[in-house]
């Protein structure tokens, strides 16, 4: 039961890869597409190697590091998409590094679980949790930003952020509780993580299932008339000054 539970998201991820390919998301969101494709491949590889303990150990930790790295890159990508109109404003380029610094700082302040042996695993777990904090931060920040500035809600970056937000919120919550309760909490931790991740993948599927809208080009005649009217007003204003 426990082993099977881990592989529930794999078919969902494969479905998501199909949906993303159909929507051409590898062009618009290359890092997110890589993250999803990597996730599907990692799940399948873990499933195939679970009988070989030594191999499984390395594949598990290496794919975990890959998840963290690609997750961070996907967040960077979606933040750049949302802020693409503000790229000329210098301080918008500092948002992502600032969020990453805050995420790392918060987690470094936290107690590191002593059960982890070896610096590599410690770094992977620390990095992974820092990325979770970054994902929660960016999701919560985006919702606040979009709500405040009246952005369109139905846009892919927000869907991507929502999926990461749901999973990372639950993952952080269970990690904190896990460090409080210890190994007694193991099964519940596994189950909630898998359910949250599956829910996140369902959110992504739901968002990317709806086709992207291309803005129709305005009628050239009416556009010329409208711009003429605007220019008349601007001329009058200039003359009045």
């Amino acid at each position: 039961m426990g082993a099977l539970l881990w592989y529930i998201p794999a078919p969902l991820l494969l479905l998501l890869v199909g949906v993303l390919v159909r929507r051409g998301a590898y062009r618009t969101f290359p890092f997110f597409f890589t993250y999803v494709a990597f996730g599907a491949a990692a799940d399948v590889t873990r499933f195939l190697t679970q009988g070989h303990h030594s191999l499984y150990f390395w594949i598990y930790w290496l794919t975990d590091a890959g998840y963290a790295l690609l997750g961070a890159l996907a967040m960077y990508e979606l933040l750049r998409k949302v802020l693409r109109g503000f790229s000329h404003i210098w301080w918008t380029h500092l948002i992502f590094p600032a969020v990453v610094t805050v995420g790392l700082s918060i987690w470094r302040m936290h107690v590191v679980p002593p059960q982890l042996q070896g610096p590599l695993r410690l770094w992977i777990v620390t990095g992974e949790i820092a990325v979770r904090i970054v994902q929660v931060f960016i999701f919560a920040g985006l919702v606040t930003f979009i709500g405040f500035f009246g952005f369109r809600w139905r846009q892919y970056p927000l869907g991507i952020a929502a999926g990461f937000g749901v999973y990372s919120t639950v993952a952080l919550l269970t990690t904190i509780k896990f460090s409080d309760f210890g190994t007694r909490f193991r099964f519940l931790w596994d189950a909630t993580s898998v359910v949250a991740y599956s829910f996140a993948v369902l959110i992504w599927i739901g968002f990317f299932f709806v086709p992207e809208k291309e803005e129709p080009p305005p009628n050239p005649e009416t556009l010329a008339f409208a711009l003429g009217t605007l220019n008349q007003y601007l001329d009058r204003l200039r003359r009045m000054r």
Partner: protein, 193 residues
């Protein structure tokens, strides 16, 4: 201890955000008739805006008035500018909402949806930053004479954005987006922005 508190605050913020997100994602986009757009807009007096942000006006007032009179006059001008900012911010929100309602429908976009939306966000960002500055300036007690009264022209730029320029961009984007309106309606739209 501090990190635990911060993580819990972050989680609570995210949970609230998630609930709000689900509510907004499921809610229907409000339907609007483009003919009604003009009635929602608050006219912005462009001449007044330019005169308030004119460095020469600040200089002339400083030269002509006593320090006490200048402080009073400058506070009045700040309140006036705050009202213009409120209108600009309101108009940008209205235009973004109408643009979303008329052209957004239920489709998804790979980022901020349209020129109007992008320009509206710049205007709102500018207005928010400028209003925060104004709030700070206006909250300084009048008796605090040691702090020099700032020039209003400095508020042309806020959050690294040129206010009048981004509002012009919003106007142009709105004219382009609502180009299918009747000539009289388009005329009214241009006048009311």
């Amino acid at each position: 201890m501090l990190s635990s508190i911060l993580i819990w605050l972050l989680l609570a913020w995210s949970a609230l955000g998630l609930m709000y997100f689900l509510y907004r994602a499921c809610a229907r986009v409000p339907r609007h008739d483009p003919k009604n757009l003009v009635h929602y807009l608050h006219p912005v007096d462009w001449d007044l805006l330019e005169s308030l942000l004119d460095p020469a006006a600040d200089f002339e007032l400083r030269w002509r008035l006593s320090p006490r009179e200048f402080r009073e006059e400058q506070r009045c001008r700040m309140r006036l500018f705050r009202e213009l900012l409120r209108r600009m911010s309101h108009n940008s929100a209205v235009l973004a909402e109408f643009d979303n309602a008329l052209f957004g429908k239920d489709d998804f976009t790979p980022g901020p949806g349209s020129k109007v939306e992008e320009a509206a966000i710049k205007v709102r960002l500018y207005c928010t930053a400028a209003r925060i500055k104004l709030r700070v300036w206006l909250s300084l007690p009048d008796t605090l004479r040691a702090v020099p009264m700032p020039d209003l022209a400095r508020l042309r730029m806020a959050a690294d954005l040129d206010g009048p320029k981004v509002y012009e961009e919003l106007k142009a984007a709105a004219v382009e987006a609502f180009a299918d309106l009747q000539p009289a309606e388009l005329d009214a739209l241009t006048r009311n922005l």
